[in-house]
C-alpha cells in the first residue's frame, strides 16, 4: 500500500506530452516504479466517488492502486459498489443517465475522465467479461474478431491469426477449431464464457476486467476459467469481481474488500485472508457476516 504517490497535475501534464507514445511512457513509468516494492501500478484510483442519481452515492472516496500483470480481486457483499467501480474503469457507467463522479481514475497514468480522451479508444485498451456470458448471435469466429472488425481490420490473415491466438489463450481452440463458423449460441455455458474471454482479449488490451465471470457456471467450467485467469495474468492486468472467496484466494494476487461503497482494506491476498487488519474484513471473510 505504500506505493509512490504522484502529483496528479504533474502527471496530467506528462500525460498530454506523451499521450501519443505510450511505449516510452510505460518504460519511464517502469523505471520509476522499479524503485518501489512490487510491480508498477497500472490503475490508480484517487479519492473517487460515484453517484447514480445525484442523491445516491454508491462509492465513497476510493483510493487504490492496481498493479500491472497481476490479478486483483474485488470482494464484498452485494451492493457494496465493487461492480460499479469495475465498470468505471472502462466507463461503462456512462451509459446510465444521471451519473456523476468525483476524483480521478488513471489507467496507465492517463486520466480516463479527461475530456480529450475518446471513450472508444479507452475501451479498446480494456477488455471486459460480464457476469452473464453474452456472445453475439454470430459465428464463433465473428465473435472473437468483433473488436478488430469494429476497428476496421479487414485483413483476413490478421483476423485468422488473432482468432486462433485468442481462442488458444482462452483455452477454447481445441474445442472450436473445427466449427469456427458455427453459431456461438450452440456452445455450452462454460464455453460461451471462455468465448467471451477470447473476445475480450482479441484486441490485446492492457487490462482485463471480469465481473463475476463464473457466477453462472458449474465447478468444472469454473476451474477451467480460474486456470485461464492465472495464465492470462502473464500478459494482462486482471481485475476480477467475485462473490466466491475461495475463488479470490485461488486466483488473485491482491484483494480489495468493499463494504457499503467504501474500500475497507486492500492487501496481498494471502495477507488479507490470513491476517486482515480491519475487523469488518475479518468478519466477512470468516463468514460471520455477509
Amino acid at each position: 500500500m505504500n506505493l509512490a504517490k504522484l502529483e496528479p497535475i504533474a502527471m496530467q501534464k506528462e500525460n498530454v506530452e506523451s499521450l501519443s507514445n505510450t511505449a516510452s511512457l510505460s518504460s519511464a513509468l517502469l523505471e520509476r516504479k522499479n524503485q518501489a516494492p512490487g510491480r508498477p501500478d497500472y490503475i490508480k484510483v484517487s479519492n473517487f466517488s460515484f453517484n447514480y442519481v445525484p442523491a445516491v452515492r454508491v462509492l465513497h472516496n476510493i483510493t487504490m492502486d492496481i498493479p500491472e500483470k497481476q490479478v486483483t480481486a474485488f470482494i464484498g457483499p452485494s451492493g457494496c459498489g465493487k461492480t460499479t467501480l469495475l465498470r468505471n474503469f472502462n466507463r461503462m457507467n456512462d451509459l446510465i443517465d444521471g451519473v456523476s463522479q468525483e476524483g480521478k481514475i488513471y489507467v496507465n497514468d492517463q486520466d480516463i475522465y479527461d475530456r480529450d480522451l475518446e471513450v472508444i479508444s479507452l475501451r479498446k485498451r480494456i477488455g471486459m467479461v460480464f457476469q452473464k456470458s453474452n456472445p453475439f448471435p454470430k459465428s464463433i469466429y465473428e465473435n472473437v474478431v468483433y473488436s478488430l472488425r469494429v476497428s476496421g481490420q479487414k485483413n483476413k490473415e490478421v483476423l485468422d491469426e488473432v482468432a486462433e491466438k485468442s481462442l488458444r489463450s482462452a483455452a477454447l481452440w481445441d474445442e472450436t477449431k473445427d466449427r469456427l463458423q458455427d453459431s456461438a449460441l450452440g456452445l455450452s455455458g462454460g464455453q460461451m464464457q471462455r468465448l467471451c474471454i477470447a473476445r475480450a482479449i482479441a484486441n490485446r488490451p492492457e487490462i482485463l476486467l471480469m465481473d463475476e465471470p463464473c457466477s453462472a457456471l458449474d465447478p468444472i467450467a469454473t476451474a477451467k476459467i480460474e486456470e485461464l485467469i492465472s495464465e492470462l495474468k502473464q500478459s494482462f492486468t486482471v481485475v476480477i469481481v467475485t462473490h466466491n472467496m475461495q475463488q479470490a484466494t485461488r486466483v488473485s494476487d491482491r484483494a480489495a474488500y468493499f463494504y457499503l461503497g467504501k474500500l475497507i482494506e486492500m492487501d496481498d491476498t494471502t495477507q488479507l485472508f490470513s491476517n486482515p487488519s480491519q475487523k469488518e474484513t475479518e468478519d466477512y471473510i470468516s463468514g460471520r457476516f455477509g
Partner: protein, 558 residues
Amino acid sequence: MSEAKQKIGGSKRGRSAPGEPMVWFSGMWLAIGILMIVFLLSVILVNGVSVFWPKNVLQIELTDNSKAAWKESKYLAGEVRKTQERQVMDEQGEAIPEIQLFVGNRDVYGFAFQFVDDSDIVKENYPQGILVMERMEYGNMIAYPVKLQLADGRVISAGDEKFHQALTAAVDRGNHRRDKISHIEKGEIGDVNRAMEQHKMELKKGELDGQDVEKIKLAAEQEQADLQEKYEKLAAEATALREQQNEEIFFYRLVTGEERSVSVGFLISFYYPNQLSLFGKLGHFFSRGWSFLVDEPREANTEGGVFPALFGTFVMTLIMCILVVPFGVVAAIYLQEYAKQGLVVRVVRIAVNNLAGVPSIVYGVFGLGFFVYMVGGSIDDLFYPERKPAPTFGTGGLLWASLTMALMTVPVVIVSTEEALSSVTRGMREASLAAGASKWQTIQRIVIPGGLPGIITGMILAMARGAGEVAPLMLVGVVKLAPTLPIDTVAPFVHLERKFMHLGFHIYDLGFQSPDSEAAKPMVFATTLLLIGLVVVLNAAAILVRERLRRKYSSGAF
C-alpha cells in the same frame, strides 16, 4: 403427493376453481373468431376456384306458357348456377323451387341469366354436341356448331370428323392474329407515336427555351414525315390482319333453333362441356385459371384476366415496402436508440400510434393534395413544362400511390421496429461497447441484426395493409383500366408516373360498378381469392425470410 391432490380435487367436487369458467368463455370467443375467418375463407375459396371449373350444360324443354321462354321457343340451355326457392311463395303459401341458368348468348337473348321454375320444365337432358365458346364480346356463347367456312371458301360441316381439328386450328390462327394486331398497335405503332410525341415536346421545349425554332422545326418535320410513313405502313398491316380475322366464319345454331354466324377472329376458345372427361375438365380448369392470371381484362373487366391488376398491386406493394421500411426503421432507431427518453419522445410515440388509426381515406385526400397536386405539380412545372397543360406527375400515379400507402403504414413499421430494437438485450449492447464499438457500430452490427425479425414483422403488417387498401388509392392513381403496365420494356422501364390497376379496386369495380353484376360475380370471387392469395404469398415470403433470420440470430439459452 398425488393422493393429496386428489383429496383436494375431491373436496371441491361440483365446484370449479375461481376463474375456471373464464377459460371456457375466452376460449369460446377465440373459437367464434376462428370459425368466422375459416368460413369466410372457405366461401371465397370454393366460389373463387369453382369459377374456372367447366360446368355441364343442361338443355331443358319448357311448358307452353312458361315465362322463362325466349320468344316462341320452348328450349333453353345453360349452366345451372343456382338451385333455390323463389322469394315469393305461391297462393297456397308453398315454396316454388327454381333454378338459375347461365344461358349465355347475351347478344341474342339480351340476358345471360334466366330463372326457370322447376314446374315449368318438361324435359331435361345434357346434349353431347353442345358447345361453349368464349368470345371477345357479349360473354360466352352456348350453341350447337353447324359448319365452318374457311378463308379459301371450303366449308366443313359439324358432322365431319375433321371439324374439331379445323375449328381448333382456325381459332388458334385467330388468336395468333389478334396477338399480332395488338403487338403492332400497342407496340410498334406505340413506339412511332412516342417518337412523334417526343418531337412535338422537343419543339415545344425549344420554343419555351427560346432556341432557334425554325431549325428544330425543319429537322423535326423531316423525321416526322418518316415516322408518318412508318405509321401508315404499320396501320395498313394491322388493317389487313383485321380483315383476315373476318375471312373465316363459324356458323352455329342456338337451342331455340335460330342459326347465326360469327367471324372466327371473334372467338377465343371453345369446349364441349358435356363431353369432357375428368381430366379434360381439369385441363380446362387449369388453362382458364392460367389465362385469368396472365390475360388482360375484356368487356369492362367482367371477362378475361386480371394480370394488370395483379401486377399493379404487386408493384405498388413492393415500392411501398422499399419506401416505408427504411423510413420507418431509421425513425424507430432514432426514437429508440438516440432520442433522450422524455416528454417529447413520449408525445411523439403517442402521435405515431395514433397515426395508425387515422382513416385511410384521410391519407388518400392528403396524398392527392400534397403529393399529387403540390409535389407532382411542382415537378411538372420544373421538369416537364413542354407537356403542359397535360399533367405528368401532377396526376395520380404509381409513385404517389406508393408514397401515400407508405405514409399510411409507416406507424406500423415504427412501432414494431421499436419493439424489436428494445428486445435486443442490454448485455449484447454492453458487450459490443466494451469491445470498443461506437454506438452506431453497435446499432449497425448488433442491434439491427438482432431486431431484424421484428422489423420484418412490421413490414409484413404494412404489406398486408397496403395491398388490401382501396379507398385512398382511388384518389391517388388507381384506375379501372390502365392502358399500359407501370413496368415495361420502354425506357426508363419503371414508369412511376403511370396510373395502374389494383386488385382491391378491381373487386370494387367489378362487384359494384359493372352493368351486369350477376355476370361479374364469379370474377369478383376469383379476384378476391387472388388478392388474398397475393397477400398470403407476400407474407409467406417475408415470414420465410424472418424465420431464417430468427434461426440465425435467436438469442441463446443456457
